[in-house]
Symmetry: C2
Subunit: 338 residues, 2 copies
DNA sequence: CTGTTAGCGCTTTCAC
DNA sequence: GTGAAAGCGCTAACAG
């Protein structure tokens, strides 16, 4: 029935065990080389007092927190959730926790937000697709150790070693377009993501590649965003474009778009094919199952932690990785009518 | 091109501005009452040195971190992701960050895990459906301020004020069963979640309620878990049970189960109806759209923060809340065959 | 009003 | 081997 002090500190334990705080510290951290009997006594005292070292104090003294930061543009996106799950689980295995930040509401404050959470932790995994490159470059030094997701630093800055893990959106979307082309579609609509988003730019480039090789194809560009409501809102424009197939920025947009098109009385893929990007966990179970470019986000989270861990230990983080999406053909695409 | 010192501290700023660290501290925190000219000088010095206070040091000195912990059994579950998104966004508005922990792998270490992340933060939001009640009770004092999700403390301990936000699984699942009954199903299968899970127990109770009122119904119990693979694995047993409708523990299990049943050549809902629980964001878009009990998890996250914030400020946290699920009738349920 | 001093709780040289 | 003392960077009494 004892226990329940206000705050038991290392000094309390030391006093009770009749040793100095330094000794307790050494024993608690395995740097003790004295008699086992003393160690036992200290451990007993610690147990009796239910002592546990203050992580805060340790952090301050040691200069490391055993926590890493993770900033994303939208925590509600299943793709980022998967990355987080992979990151968090792997980091935990090495005794690290993840502090999260959703920059969603205000992209303009991303640099401050990133800086703030970075300072509370030992490192940061950053996903900031909309941050202007010059701001990012200005930030990278202050943020180190830093792992970037979905963007690479310009070559000039690269030596600063901020490993980058990205997804080959460019090739991925080109593959989707090629698939639609093979089905016979000649009039596509790209329902695009956030303006100024790096990953959207990559997709645009992929479509440019595709367009160059297929001059007989028309591609309408229709504004949306990264969330499903924006996909839904884009439905009328997609219909009016007359396209026979729509490539959505990502799975969420595709899902919203499909919903919107249906509400307009169109059938997918009967009247119009729709594709996504990401292959979020439920994409295969959708109605219709979504044709998309599959990316293993959880793996990305795992690799992010591997890089991070190396970086934290001052090791070489290894080369950048570009994850190759795999085309996942499902029911949401079919040949155009007649 | 300047900036980039090793670590600029409050002392550096003080020196440069020709004042004491205390003055700098006061100015940085708005507790300054001296001449504006001095404040200006200090701010200028801080700017020039690109000074930013160390959150760690502040935390140690102030005794608060402006961070809260969030522990869940499975970060990969969309339901918890929604809670997290709601919690994180709302907390951020008040300047609080969220530190996460996934207890998934080892339920036995939940108490340690919770204690650990709690000590790194100012409070904790805990979702630990499988933790034995006595362990939970033993923990609650050490964890305070604490907000519980999906379980309530025994009345005897209640005064300890750990507000609880829960979901009325009991009523929810009974409503689902009633719906199936109304459709004509008389042989149900409950594909149950983690043993010892509090929220599973609630569902069982709800089904007991239902069974009592409907002696003409047979309910088979089939083991699964909380994840979709477990739902898929349960498919053969569900088929063999001969039930005409299956109530899955949650949406994920339902999704896996539907996939598994299909693989066995059965059609849903043609051969067998399937229901979920949670109404995860994509449930309505599934094939078939999932009949489920809808719970606003993001709202739950928001309310969790409200309670937490009150608690942190030492205010009354308000009464416990029990979120009522709403029956969401969709395509995965239909009348049994002849 | 502002600076001095004493911590917050732990780690770690540096002597003994 | 072990303890005393300094310090991580900041805040808050307490004087002046």
């Amino acid at each position: 029935m004892a226990a329940g002090r206000e705050h038991v500190t290392i000094a309390d334990v030391a006093r009770r065990a009749g040793v100095s705080p330094a000794t307790v510290s050494r024993i608690m951290n395995g740097r003790f080389a004295g008699e086992e009997e003393i160690a036992e006594r200290v451990r007993a005292a610690a147990d009796e007092l239910a002592y546990a070292p203050s992580p805060l104090a340790r952090s301050l003294a040691l200069g490391r927190t055993h926590a890493i930061a993770f900033m994303v543009p939208d925590l509600a996106n299943p793709a980022f959730q998967s990355v987080l799950a992979g990151l968090s689980k792997t980091a935990a295995r090495d005794g690290y926790r993840v502090l999260i930040a959703d920059s969603g509401e205000s992209p303009s404050e991303e640099p401050l937000l990133a800086t703030e959470i970075r300072r509370r932790t030992d490192a940061i995994v950053l996903c900031a697709p909309r941050m202007p490159e010059d701001e990012l470059v200005a930030l990278v030094e202050r943020l180190h150790p830093l792992v970037l997701i979905n963007r690479r630093l310009p070559d000039a800055v690269r030596p600063a070693v901020a490993p980058s893990l990205s997804i080959d959106y460019r090739t991925g979307i080109a593959a989707i377009a090629a698939h639609l082309y093979a089905l016979g579609h000649r009039h596509l609509a790209y329902v695009y993501g956030p303006e100024r988003s790096a990953s959207n730019a990559h997709r645009e480039r992929g479509l440019d590649d595709f367009a160059r090789e297929h001059p007989d194809v028309r591609i309408a560009r229709i504004p949306a965003g990264a969330a499903s409501e924006e996909g839904r809102a884009a439905a009328p424009l997609v219909r009016d474009s007359g396209a026979t197939a729509a490539l959505a920025f990502n799975d969420l947009v595709a899902i919203g778009l499909i919903g919107g098109l249906r509400r307009l009385g169109l059938s997918v893929p009967g009247d119009i094919s729709v594709t996504g990007f990401d292959d979020i966990p439920l994409a295969q179970y959708l109605d219709p199952a979504l044709t998309t470019a599959s990316v293993s986000h959880a793996d990305l989270g795992v690799v992010a932690w591997n890089r991070m861990h190396a970086l934290i230990r001052g090791e070489e983080p290894g080369h950048d990785v570009v994850f190759q999406p795999r085309l996942e053909l499902r029911a949401s695409t079919t040949a155009p009518r007649s």
